[in-house]
Symmetry: C2
């Protein structure tokens, strides 16, 4: 964790590598072989098969691609996280948010590939989302957390049921 953190907080630019479009997280992340770098993008033109593979990897149930495409189009913010090695890139994380573009945003579908979990990347992804939403003047950032990730979000500054406000879901009778 500390290793990655130090890179996130440095502001060195990536050097001498093919630049994919998208915003690099602050600093390059060099792992074992000094040739890999991790960056974020808000480009919506994501290969839906690659995204499906990522969601499969964490055991999410499959969703119709037609609807996933529509959801991405109509999300306010879509963030993908990539590992770049030389000229190839691999989708390793994803998150999106719906919004009224003014007051509220709700974050959905936060995922980091198991090969890349517990390294601080989920946190970096969430921080990136929050920064982007705050830059758009959204004051109310919300989400619905599965019980096993409530503490993950807590660490990022999210509060469960603040002032007794309850998340509710509609179920047909």
């Amino acid at each position: 964790m500390g290793f990655w953190k130090s890179f996130f907080s440095s502001s060195d630019a990536a050097s001498g590598q093919t630049q994919f479009e998208g915003e690099a997280i602050e600093g390059t992340i060099d792992r074992t072989d000094n040739t890999s770098r991790i960056f974020f993008s808000t480009d919506r033109d994501i290969d839906l098969y690659e995204l499906e593979e990522l969601c499969d990897a964490v055991g999410w149930s499959r969703r119709p691609m037609r609807k996933v495409k529509k959801a991405i189009q109509h999300s306010f913010l879509v963030t993908s996280m990539w590992q770049q090695r030389g000229n190839t890139k691999r989708l390793i994380g994803f998150a999106r948010a719906t919004s009224d573009h003014a007051f509220n945003a709700t974050i959905w579908d936060v995922v980091v590939h198991p090969d890349f979990q517990t390294k601080g990347l989920g946190k970096a992804l969430m921080k990136y989302m929050i920064r982007k939403l705050r830059n758009e003047d959204i004051s109310n950032i919300t989400l619905f957390a599965d019980p096993h990730v409530v503490n993950f979000y807590r660490r990022m500054g999210f509060m469960a049921d603040p002032e007794g406000i309850k998340g509710m879901f509609w179920y047909p009778d």
Copy 2:
């Protein structure tokens, strides 16, 4: 309640009155003087001063009109509820939802004017919202309920924290 319910479930059309655009709730609602009718509309062209007055009436803190306008534009569904008397209409209720147009919708800003509360209209407004969202094939309808209205939403089929899912809000450190 029972009185209003019977009108909601009847399918008589409004008769002999000026028709405003918007969808009438099933049946005409005649009150004391037999000349008033209540209907819903999804038209976004709402007088923002009238909306502010409605929100003032339930004690909500004022929000910049520029942002309210933007939020209405970028909501997936906006429902207003009107009382029509002769040729005049009065805004008596409001609700809106953000959505990814595919999987999720989140309902915000549900309000019924105090003069019209406890008559079943809040429930009718919510049912209208749910019906519209279901017609658009949205399967996951969510909201964040203030503690004093959790039971109101429960009556409409909403569940708090289903399977331990927690509503969370981000607060800046």
